[in-house]
Every structure is written in structure tokens, then in C-alpha cells.
Symmetry: C2
Subunit: 336 residues, 2 copies
């Protein structure tokens, strides 16, 4: 029910992904009459793989997480997460208030053993073609070295299990690549990661390292990660604005645009931000995917697809297994 556009984009998006996946069953959680009306308007009221689960409330986009937790016990968000907890759904996808989603998911589902705090992760494109995975993107405004270590474990598992990277390289976001640089907690996290035999730790990366493709997972606290993500969106938006403006200026430039259209279209497909929609709330005993609030139909479909992949690969269980292995594996021996 939430996000900037609510069911108007979520329902058509759900129908699209249902058509792609013949085994998929989707539950639309929210105001029954609104959702039924939406399905009628899309001629989809007869789809047996699509059910409606009524929820009477909606968490507002600017609502405090604590307020949502306390007063929105029948919100679409809360009810959807309850369904995951009860085993009636295998994942929850929401375009709603990030803080409330995280707080509710954490409260209802709890964190996995060995995980102190869940983290938000997303994929971003790189210059080498394959994606990179960045976490935390805002769940933890501060994070201790141990938290950063746990983020590294979770990010590695996601990159490996869902995105088929056999031995994902993990970098720590810092302001220099040398070991002496940066802030203490990042340096300490670097020492923890260097000593772990189960993480393919590649050292510090700077902001541009997110897009270089030299590492597969970039770890940082939620304050820095959120600023890096929003900065990325801001730069991309600005460049796209100037590209449009330049091609729109005169008759000649509009003609040039027409000729360049197939090139621009292919380019858009390669680095279309909508393809990267669907951030995972990792570290929970259940799968929760956060879509961008402003997602359109195409974009929200990517978030649903991410949920399907994580269900197929059983990401929470894999994170647990990896953490258990770490407890049983001796630390890497220091050589030299």
C-alpha cells in the first residue's frame, strides 16, 4: 500500500512477474477493496496464484519507526512481515518507509544467531560489467568493527549464493587504500577481516572502488553507505539531465539524438538504475526486500525478482551456515 505510488505500480508489477514465473504465488497485502478494484481494472481478478490479504492500516513514508511499531499493528507492512514469520509467505517485498520496514522486520523476525544488526545491501553496476554489492546502506548509522565484519560475511554470502560469484572479494570502504589511513573502526575491521580464513578480504577501497569492479562486496557503516548511494543517484541523475538537455537544444542536436537513439537506449539498459532496484534486509530470520519508494512498474518487478532469487537460494540459512563455519574454523595463520 505504501511507497510513493502504492498499488498503482505494485499490482501491475506483481502481474508481470507472475506471468514470468509459473510457480510463483503472490499475496497482495493491504486494503482489500482497493486491491480488488486494482485487479478488476487489470482484468486479473481470476488469477489463482494471486491472493489478497487484508490489512487496514498503512505506514506513512515519514512516520517514525517507533510510531509504526507501536500504532500500526495492522499495517500492510507489518502484516506482510507477520506472514513471513508464520511461514505463510517466504519473502516480503515493500516500497514503504525504510526505517519502519527495518524496525518491524527486526522486531517480528529477529536477527540470525551471530548477527547483532541486520544491514541493507544493494547491487550497483561496475565498469567491468559484473555488479558490486554494497552494505550497509542505512540500517545502522554507526557500526562497530565487529558489525562491519558481520556485514562482510552477509555480503559475501549474498554475492556468492544469489549472484553466482564463486569467491567474492570483499573491500572495506575507506578514504585511502594504505593500511595506515582512515578511521580507527574501519582499520580494526580490516584487521578482523585479514585474520578470517573464510572471507576473501581485498583491503580498503575508496568511493570510486564501488564502481571499479575490483571487489565484489563493499562494506561500510549505514551513514557512509547511504551517503555514497544517494551521491551515486545524484551524479547519475545530473549527468542524465545534462545529456537530455544537450540533445534537446537545437534542431541539429535533436536530429543527432534521433540517430544516437539506439546507442543511448542500449546504454540506458546497461546502467539503468531501475535494474538495481531491490535492496535486501540481510541478517534476519526471513527474507525482506526493500524497493525504492519512487519505483515504477518495471523497477518494482526487479525487487520481486530479487526476493524470488533469495528464496530459491535460501539466503538466511546460508548466512547462518557461513557464520557457524567461521566459529569452527581457526583464524588464518599469520605468515612472515
Amino acid at each position: 500500500m505504501s511507497g510513493d505510488h502504492g498499488p498503482a505500480i505494485i499490482v501491475p508489477s506483481a502481474l508481470q512477474v507472475l506471468a514470468e514465473h509459473p510457480d510463483l504465488h503472490l499475496i497482495l497485502v493491504g486494503d482489500k477493496s482497493v486491491l480488488e478494484e486494482m485487479l478488476r481494472s487489470q482484468q486479473a481478478q481470476e488469477n489463482t496464484r494471486l491472493t489478497i490479504h487484508h490489512a487496514s492500516q498503512v505506514v506513512e513514508m515519514s512516520e517514525l519507526p517507533s510510531h509504526a511499531l507501536r500504532f500500526k499493528k495492522d499495517s500492510s507492512m507489518r502484516v506482510a512481515i507477520n506472514l513471513v514469520k508464520a511461514g505463510e509467505a517466504q519473502a516480503c517485498v515493500s516500497a514503504g518507509n525504510t526505517g519502519a520496514l527495518m524496525a518491524t522486520a527486526r522486531y517480528v523476525l529477529k536477527t540470525l544467531p551471530g548477527i547483532d544488526r541486520p544491514a541493507i545491501i544493494t547491487a550497483l553496476p561496475t565498469i567491468q560489467g559484473h555488479d558490486t554489492h554494497v552494505l550497509d546502506l542505512g540500517a545502522n548509522v554507526d557500526a562497530s568493527p565487529e558489525h562491519l565484519f558481520q556485514f562482510a560475511v552477509m555480503g559475501s554470502v549474498l554475492a556468492q549464493a544469489v549472484h553466482n560469484l564463486p569467491n567474492p572479494k570483499v573491500g572495506l570502504l575507506n578514504i585511502g587504500q594504505e593500511e595506515i589511513k582512515g578511521i580507527e573502526k574501519v582499520k580494526e575491521a580490516g584487521r578482523l577481516l585479514s585474520n578470517s580464513a573464510l572471507i576473501n578480504y581485498a583491503g580498503f577501497v575508496e568511493g570510486d572502488g564501488i564502481f571499479s569492479g575490483n571487489v565484489d562486496v563493499v562494506v561500510c557503516d549505514g551513514f557512509v553507505g547511504n551517503i555514497a548511494l544517494k551521491t551515486t543517484e545524484g551524479v547519475a541523475h545530473m549527468i542524465s539531465h545534462y545529456v537530455k538537455q544537450s540533445f534537446n537544444r537545437t534542431v541539429f542536436t535533436r536530429l543527432a539524438a534521433l540517430i544516437a537513439l539506439p546507442v543511448i537506449k542500449r546504454l540506458r539498459e546497461q546502467i539503468d538504475p531501475r535494474r538495481y532496484n531491490g535492496a535486501s534486509l540481510l541478517g534476519l530470520r526471513g527474507i525482506v526486500i526493500k524497493s525504492h519508494g519512487s519505483a515504477d512498474t518495471l523497477s518494482f518487478a526487479y525487487a520481486i525478482r530479487e526476493a524470488i532469487l533469495e528464496v530459491q537460494k535460501n539466503v538466511p540459512m546460508r548466512i547462518s551456515e557461513q557464520l557457524e563455519k567461521m566459529l569452527l574454523t581457526p583464524e588464518k595463520r599469520q605468515v612472515g
Copy 2:
């Protein structure tokens, strides 16, 4: 002598800016024989507005600032800053090791009264056409609310004095725009700025706010600022890579590129990162400009031009005046 390319780009760049500014006098600081040879190869040994000041050492790009301070007392960087201190030069421009430049400048020149820590500031393009100014970009990996307040004062002065923005709007970089969001020190800095009558404080901005043009100055600590800056460079580089690749793919796309060339060229001019080279070390009793280490001739010229502007506008004195005014001005009265 330093930077990735040393005198090979700095000397031609100096000659170019000298030709533009008939009143300018430049002092090349570094190895005399190397510099003389460079000038000879450029047929410029006779230019009376260009002198050489010998320095026998060079600070390496990866050298520890403390090491440079202690053992490189005759480095080109140290000698250039000494010339500013002695009043023989009005500004120093360097493409060298940022940490060593900041440590040396701070040690030799000292900070202005009322400034605890200098900060690094640069201009970045926005969607609205005018630039935004972001600080700190890495001088202070952590900063207290009071430091962030001082950065706001310094950033305002630079935006106003050098870049002709009459009443620059100042935003604090945070992970949400609501007052309740973010980390404690940023919220406290927000309270300090809200209470100051001499700062046009516009509240919190997120990472994309750097490029929206809604504020003229964005304030953050050096860790976050550096990551935002490097992220910006990374995204821009990646997009430019994919643009080139897309236009280079087939005969048809190369033809499209040829037709689109004037558009792309104009676009490059609008948001060419080289135009934004030349970060200022603000808060010192003297003007020091840091060029990107990998700057080319065109790019380094922008750093020299920034130095000229700051000399003309006497930025350090204006920062001092503004701080003094603040001490004399009562806090804003809370209304309502």
C-alpha cells in the same frame, strides 16, 4: 615536482595561465636543473614573470605526513609553503600528497584565529547550472559539531567571496532530511547552525543534494566528504566508460558518435571534471590549493586560477572577518 606527472604538466600549465594573466608572477619550486630544462624545451626560459626557486627534495605520493614534516624540510612542497609564510608568494598550488600538504601547511602557516582545523573544499557541478561547494573532503576524518560549524562559516565565505553567491545556502550532509534523522554530531551541528544569524542554514541534505543545486555549500566531516567525492568520480568515470563503449561498438554506432560529437563535446565542457580541479585548504593564514594528483595541463590550470581568485578576494582575511562578526553578533532569536 610532485603529483603523478610532476613538472611535465605543471610547467606547460603555468605558462598557459601566465599568458592569460599579464599581472601574474609564478614561482616554480623544485629541482632547478629539471625545471630549467623544462622551460628550455618549452622555449620559455626568457619569461620574466616566471622564476625558479630551488628545492632539493620531493615528498612522495605515499609518504606519511609526519615523515614529510620531519625529513623533507627542503621539499618543493615545504619550500613553496615557506614562501607563502614569508610573504614572497601569495598562494601555493600543489598536485602532491594531500596529507603531507595539509600537515605542512598547517604546521608552517597555522590556522586562523577561531578555526581549530583547516578543511578541504572543492566546487562540484549541479543540475541547476551553478556550482555547489563541499567541505571537508578529507582533512579531518572526524569532526565535532563545532568543527562542522566552522566549516560552514568557511564554506559560506568562499562561496560568497570567490564565487559571487550573495547569501549562500548551507546544508549539512546527512542520511535524511528530517530533523530527527542521522547521527548525533550532525544533529548538534544543525542546532548550532540554526542559531546563527550569519549563516543562511538550509537544513540537512542527502548525498543527491550535492548535485541538486538547492544549497550552495554542503558541510560534512572529511571521512564522509572524501567518500562522497570519490564516489562521484567513480560514477562519472563509469558512465563515461559506458558511453564510449556504446558509441564504439559497431560501424553504425561510430557514425552516430560522429554526428553526436558536437553535442557530446558541449556536454563534456559543461560537466568536465577537469574544470573542477583545485581544492582549497581553508582555515589557514595563507592560501594553499590542492590539485588532483593526476591532473593534466588543462586541469592544473584551473587550480592555478582558483589560487588567483582567492588572492584577489583575500579569502583568509574574509574568513577571519566573518568569524569576528559572529562573535559580536547575538544568536538568532527563536521565534514562535
